[in-house]
Amino acid sequence: MQYKIATLALGTALALAAATGARADTAHPNDIRIGGYFVHFDTSASDITGPYTVPGLNTSVNNTTTLYLGYVRTLSSHFAVEFAFGWPPLTHAVGKGPAAVGSVPYNGVTIANIRWLSPTALLEYNFFAPDSRWRPFVGVGVNYTYFYDRQVTAAGAAVSGGPTSISLPASVGPAVTAGFKYRLNTRWHIVASYSVAQVNSRLTTDTAGVLRSSSVHFWPNAVVVSVGYSF
């Protein structure tokens, strides 16, 4: 559902960009950027439910920092499309709930480590003129997140009751961004931005055939600082 809305938004925006008839800056239409992603995960999950499960078991995800790689293609004097890629960070899912389940520690304990492959495509509108020193921008787009290297920790296995596998289907969701570009010269610039994406999935754990699940919603709030080169 969100996939369709996001694509529709992107498609409409692209059409609008073409319709303005603005001339693209063809001199150096490609930007490659490298920098840092500083991500805070706002997590909202339902309590974990299933057989042999006490109520009140929830999770949060720790902040993470990773490498940012981006490619931006200028479409016109104002519009651009960005493909943002964070080097897949290893995120830590932490128990949120009672101090212990029976006598097994839960609250604040890292129960799983999961890697995120989470590229985002954004259509951005850049204010002011192409040769301005400062160019604020806003953007809207689509995030795709694929969860892999899904490993329950020893503490997670202890609280689950045995070796556990995790399923966390991929997510497609909207993303928004706002930031500014500081032009150093014709080739180099610095970019800082703040992005939020919506990542939804269903967490299901399998311990000795016992399935437990929770619906999870993350809002990765990312501050990105990067340096870019145009060509």
Binding site: Y52, G102, L117, Y146, G161, G162, T164, A170, A208, G209
Partner: protein, 526 residues
């Protein structure tokens, strides 16, 4: 569509050596074999892990828990509760999946880790199909108090406990429970033990191992199953260090005859459908139609009624099962004076007032069992008598020479009782056995069961290999404190509820005392 995309991305990234997409933690292995004794899921699920103090705190939170804590002692070890799924053999010979509990002691105490003895425990009669002795966390489960009892008495004191739920319960899809079917129940116990021995090295505490000491015990139906298990394990040449069957219906033929003669026990209306369904499935000789045995009020569906997800209260309220009326209060008139007298509603004399009152509660209208069948069974019990029951009826003393089984029972149910009677086969325990019970037990009569087995094995009793503990006897010997404790606990119950209400809980009240006696007994047999 998304799945395909993910696959492509994964493949692409793997090529770029950016990410390995398949390094995910795994769950337990499901066994492909269905051979009896196979652990179906390895390692089994640990349902709960409690330290000694956490377990003590949990028990201390309720009045019954506090009583158990006092009797069993403060937990010396923590307990890890595991839920095992394993394979056993159904009465038709096919593999069937069942479940049970494995409780492993934990903690730093000397008795809590390393090589530990195993207690193989058989649970008592339950009518509830969702019974699961592994789920200590579910206070609404019918097994919860029994689970707490064996955890507190045994696991928290350093014994590894293995306790099957039995065929017909929890995940078992058998559709009925092979009640007091000696061979099937013993196999279930032995298969649970095999599965637990497979599970133990894969537990959260692999340093806790099987010392090789094996103690077999159980209560009520479980006492019967425990004895049947000892018999089967001895026959198979398996090690049994010692056993403590408690309050079980060991002498099934004598006990059945006593009931049909009018000495109706508490719980008879639950035991009857369980027994007839079990034996009808095993031998096909109990009835041609359920109406052969049961009255028209109850016959329809009685063979699929138990075990039930519904509680007993719900079953009684829905009119599917009478609470106590086993036999019609208008008793059969056959023309045989002796038989008619035996079939009459019990009076005092010849019984004591309290005995007569107890038995009379088993008569009413409508009744569960019809008069035609009752007369037929009782007639056979007179014509082809169980010698032990005749000895008791005539007020004689049970000795090893007057407790024989009937030579040739002619009623299907009696034949099946004889087959599964623990006197069958002329066997006797080779290792120490303690038979605990209470002589006023109104649910599983003491004299006709424990008394008969003790008489059957009187040379062993004299030699001290088999011991009898009557919790209601004059306190004496090693178990005197337990006897006194039981008697004062029961007296308090009588004072609080009155004798006719208290008697309903006599059988259940005995249980933890017999289990602590078992533990004390096992400690003496290394």
């Amino acid at each position: 569509m998304l799945k395909k995309t993910r696959g492509l991305v994964c493949a692409g990234l793997t090529v770029l050596a950016l990410a390995g997409c398949g390094n995910n933690s795994k769950t337990a292995t499901v066994a492909t074999s269905t051979q009896a004794g196979t652990l179906a899921v390895d390692p089994p699920l640990r349902v709960a892990s409690l330290t000694a103090s956490a377990f003590a705190a949990q028990l201390g939170a309720s009045p019954t828990g506090q009583q158990l804590l006092q009797l069993a002692g403060t937990p010396a070890c923590g307990v890890d509760f595991y839920y095992m799924k394993y394979w056993t053999t159904a009465p038709d010979g096919k593999p069937t999946e069942v479940s049970g509990a494995m409780m492993v002691p934990t903690g730093s105490g000397a008795q809590c880790s390393g090589a530990r003895p195993i207690v193989l425990y058989a649970h008592g009669t339950t009518s509830v199909s969702t019974y699961n002795i592994a789920d200590i966390t579910d206070s609404t489960n019918a097994a919860n108090s029994e689970s707490a009892m064996i955890a507190a008495v045994f696991a928290a004191q350093g014994y590894i406990v293995v306790a099957p739920n039995f065929e017909g319960y929890d995940i078992s899809n058998l559709g009925y429970h092979p009640y007091v079917d000696a061979a099937v129940n013993a196999d279930d116990m032995m298969d649970a033990l095999t599965a637990a021995r497979t599970a133990l090295p894969h537990s959260f505490t692999p340093g806790t191992t099987d010392s090789g000491q094996l103690y077999v015990t159980g209560y009520s139906e479980g006492g019967y199953v425990a004895m049947a298990t000892v018999k089967a394990m001895q026959a198979a040449g398996d090690t049994v260090t010692a056993s403590a069957p408690a309050s079980g219906p060991y002498a099934l033929e004598a006990f059945g005859d006593a009931i049909f003669f009018g000495q109706v026990d508490i719980g008879s209306t639950i035991f009857s459908p369980l027994v007839t369904t079990s034996y009808q499935n095993a031998y096909g000789n109990v009835y041609k139609a359920t109406s052969d045995i049961y009255t028209s009020t109850y016959a329809s569906g009685i063979d699929t009624l138990l075990p039930s997800p519904d509680s007993l209260t719900q079953l009684f309220q829905s009119g599917k099962l009478p609470e106590a009326a086993l036999f019609d209060s208008t008793t059969p008139v056959t023309g045989n004076t002796q038989l008619d007298q035996l079939l009459a509603v019990p009076t005092s004399p010849p019984y004591s007032a309290s005995q007569a009152a107890l038995f009379d509660a088993g008569f009413g209208t409508p009744s569960l069992v019809n008069n035609t069948y009752r007369a037929e069974y009782a007639a056979d019990a007179l014509t082809n008598p169980d010698q032990a029951e005749m000895t008791l009826l005539n007020g004689g003393t049970l000795t090893s020479s007057d407790v024989a089984l009937a030579a040739q029972p002619a009623v299907g149910l009696r034949e099946d009782f004889k087959l599964n009677d623990m006197r069958n086969g002329g066997w006797s325990p080779k290792e120490p056995m303690l038979m605990c019970g209470g002589d006023q037990d109104p649910t599983v009569f003491f004299q006709v069961n424990t008394g008969v087995m003790a008489a059957e094995w009187s040379p062993l009793v004299s030699a001290g290999l088999v011991q009898v503990l009557d919790l209601n006897g004059t306190p004496g010997g090693a178990f005197a404190p337990l006897q006194s404790a039981f008697q004062s606990t029961y007296a308090a119950l009588v004072a609080a509820q009155g004798p006719s209400t208290a008697i309903q809980s006599y059988h259940a009240t005995e249980a933890p005392f017999c289990m602590v006696a078992a533990r004390d007994f096992f400690a003496q047999v290394p």
